[in-house]
Amino acid sequence: MSRAAPASYDQLVFEVSSPGRVGYSLPECDVPEADPQTLLPARYLRSVAPALPEVSEFDVVRHYSRLSRLNYGLDTHFYPLGSCTMKYNPRLNEDMARLPGFARLHPLTPEGAAQGALALMHALAAALAEIAGMDAVSLQPAAGAQGELAGILMIRAYHRSRGERRTKVLVPNSAHGTNPASTAIAGYEVVEVKSTGTGEVDVDDLARHLGPDVAAFMITVPNTLGMFEPRVTEITEMCHASGVQVYMDGANLNAILGITRPGDLGFDVCHFNLHKTFTTPHGGGGPGAGPVGVKAHLEPFLPLPVVAKRGAHYTLDWRRPMSIGKLQAFWGNFGMMVRAYTYIRTMGADGLRLVSDNAVLNANYIMKRLESHYDPAAPGPCMHECVLSARRQKRQGVSAMDVGKRLLDLGFYAPSTYFPLIVDEALMIEPTETESKQTLDAFCDAMIQIAREAGETPGVIQEAPLTTPVRRLDQTRAAREPVLRWSP
C-alpha cells in the first residue's frame, strides 16, 4: 500500500548550507589585541575548523519551522500517553519563566541579590511538601529518574546512619524501568515482587521478601495499571515493621491531588515530576524536573544546598554534613520551578482538586466507552489512566503497536504501548483533565473504528501509518549499522 501523503520536507541544516553565509551578528573587537594567535600559545588553538553549517538567519528560521511541522505536538494533537500526564502547557508559565529577573539571573549571583529567586524556590518547596504530606522537599533533581536516585541514596544514608547495611530494594514487576535502574546505580540489588492478576502488589509475596536485608520498597500510587493500591496503608505498615523504608514514585500524582497524600499513606519519600503533574512542557524529551519530598527522619540527608529562610532572608544552606551530596552542579532546574510555581498559584487548592477529579472522570469515561472493544487489564473503576489489552485484536493479526500506528493516521498520538510489562499487548491511556469531552469522544470513536477494522480490513492497520511524513522505519538497520551523525 503506497503512502497517501505528499513528500514532506527532508533536509538537514548541513544540506542547506552554503559557504560564506552568516546567520549571526557580533560587533567588531573594541579592545587592542584581538588575535588569539598572539594571546595564546599555539598548542591550545584549534587545528581544524569544525564543519558547522553556514546559513542565513532566514534559512535557519525556515528550516526549523519546517522541521517543527513534522512533529505531532500536544498543542495540535491529543496525546493519550499513559503515565506521562500530557496536559496543556499554560502559556503564562512560559511568559513568567522568560522574565529577565529569572531567565537572565546567574546561579552564582550573591544570595542577597537573588532573594526573589530563592523566595520562589522556598515557596514552591513548601507547596509541594503540603501537596504530598511530606516534611521537606529538595528541588534539585533534574528529572524523575534523578529524584528516584536521590530518594534511594537518602534511604541508604539513613540506614547507614543507624549502623545497618541493607543490600536489597524491592520493586514490583509492574514498575517503570527507571525504578530498577536508579536502584542499581545506588548500589542495591533489585528484587522483583509479584503483582496479582489485576496488577496490585501481591502482599503475600511482599511479606515473603521483607527482612533485615531489605532497604526499601518502591511503588507507584496509583499503580501502573491506573488502580489505587487498595492495601497501601497495610503495605507501608508491613514495611515499617521490618525497618524497610517506603518510596512512592510520584509519576501518577495527577490522580490524587487534594484527595490523598503519599505522606498520609505512610510513605517516607516520594518524588514529583514537574513535567507531568505540574505542566512544565515535555520539550520533545526534556528538560523536566524531579523534586523529592521526605519525612522528617530523612531531612538531614537531602541534597545540598537546601533553600532556607532565616527571618525575612532566604539563603542557600550548605552546612549539611549528612547530605547525600549533589545531583546537579547548581540548584536544580529553576526555569521549570518558575513554571510549576506559576501553575500552582494559578490553581490553588480548589483548582488542584478539580484537576484530579476531572482526570479520573475522563479516564473512566474512556474506559467505559472502550471496554467492550478492548479487554480492560483490570476491572474498573480506574483512576487517572486505564490499561487495556489488544489481545483480541492480536488474534486478528493486529498488535498494540499496530493500533498505535493507525491512530497516527487518524490524527492522534498513540497511547503508551507494552507497558506495564505484566499486561500483554498493553495500551495505557491517560487523557488528563485538560481534554474536553469532544476530544475524548473523537478518540474513542477512532479506537472503536480500529477495533472494527481489525476484524474487517486489518491490512489498513498493519500498513499504518500512511499519512505521516515517514512511514514505519527500519529499526533493525538503525541498530545494526548505527549512523549517528551526518557526513558530507
Binding site: 503512502r3 505531532y72 546567574h106 550573591p110 549533589k326 538503525a478
Partner: protein, 448 residues
Amino acid sequence: MRYIANTRDEQRAMLDVIGAHSIEDLLMGIPAKARLGQPLPLAPALAETDLVRHLRDLAAHNADADAYTCFLGGGSYDHYVPSPISHLISRGEFFTAYTPYQPEASQGTLRTIFEYQTMIAELSGMDVANASIYDGASSLAEAALMAHAVTSRSEIVLASGVHPLARRVVATYCAGPGLRLRDAAAPEGTMDLGGARALVGPKTAALVIQSPNFYGCLEDVAAAAEIAHGAGTLLVVAADPVNLGVLEAPGRLGADIYVGEGQGLGVPMSFGGPNLGVFAAKGELVRRMPGRLVGATVDVDGRRGFVLTLQTREQHIRRAKATSNICTNVALCALMATIYLALLGKQGLAKVGELSTAKAHYAAERLTDIPGVALRFPAPFFKEFVLTLPKSPARVVRRLAKDRILAGVPLGSFEKRLRDSLLVAVTEKRTREEIDRFATALAKAVGS
C-alpha cells in the same frame, strides 16, 4: 477554571455513561482514613493579572544580567543568544511534543537531535555524541560510571581544576558503586603532571581533566592523555563547547570521553537550570554510552527517516542492567544549542571565542594595573581568570553591586587557599566601556 474544559453538564453526561452517581463514586477505592478531610492549605489561587504582578515583584528582587553588568562565570556564562532561538523553540510542535518514541510522528525532534549530535561530534572531535544529559556535572558523573563499566576498575582520578560542584556530583553518583575518587593537585592552577602520574595506575578507570579549568587556566590535555593511556586508563575531558570554535578539539588531544556544560550555546542562565549536559565518546564505546541516541535509517518506502536507536541499553528496556537510569534528556535545550550553532556557524562560533578571549585579556591587563590586584596563577587563560585582591572579595563584590556590576565569584567558599581571590569571566558581550568602568570601580573599592 480555564485549563479544565468539563462543564457540569458534560460531567453529568459522562457519569451517566460510566454509570456512576458522582465523581466520588469513582474514588471509592481509596481507603476512607487516607482521604483528606479538607482542601490543601495552599495559598489561594491568583487571577492572571494578580499572579503576573506577584511574579514580576519576585523577579525584580534579583540582580539579573540585563540590569547589571555580568562578570560571573564558574560554569554559567552571559553569552550572546541570537534572537531567533526563543521564537523557534516556542513553536508548540517543538516544545509541547513528547519524547520521540513514535518516530513517524516525531521526525522534527529526531532530525534536530541528529543535527545536534553531528555538531557536537564536529566541535569536540569525537566520533559520536548523545542527545544530551541533564547538565555538565551529571554528564561528567555518567562518564565516570561508564569508565568504570568499560574498564572494570574502581578509581577515578580528577584534576583539582575540575569544577568543584561537578566533582561533588561525581562523588554522589560514585557512592553507590563504591568508586574511589582521588584528587590530582593543581598548585599553580594547572594539574601537576608528576603528581597525576603517581596517582594513575592499574586501578584507575578514568583520569578527568577540565580545560579551561575552574580557575580559567588552560590545561595540557595531551600530556594528561599520555599519562592516562600509558596506564590503560580512559581520559575524560570536560570542556565548555562554546570555546571550541577557537580551542583545540578534545578528540584531537586524546579524549576517550568528552563532556561539557553547554549552557553557553544559547541556553538562558536561569539561575542555574535547566542546563545542557554534552556527552560524546570514541566510536568503539558507543554501546556503553548512557542516554539517548538518534540514528538514521529508511522507512518502508525507502525514504530517509530517523529513530531512537540502541535503546535496548536504556532503562525502559534493560531496567536494572541499563547503562544509566536516565529517562528524559534536555531535548529543548539541545534544540536551542542546535539552532545557536546553525546561526553562529563555522565563522561565528570562532568569532565568539576570539572576542571573549580578547576582552578577557584586556580586562586582566586593566584590572592588574590596580595596585594590589594580581593574577593568581601564571598559566595561560581563555575567558576567565583568578585575581588576588587586597581586600575581602565578598566585600568588594557587595561594593561593586551598588554600581550595578556583578564583579565575579569569591573563591573562599570553594578553597581556603583562595579566600583572597575572585574568579572573573569576560564574554564577547562585555564592551570595552563596561570593562573600563569595572576597572575604575574596582580601583575605588580596593582603596586606590
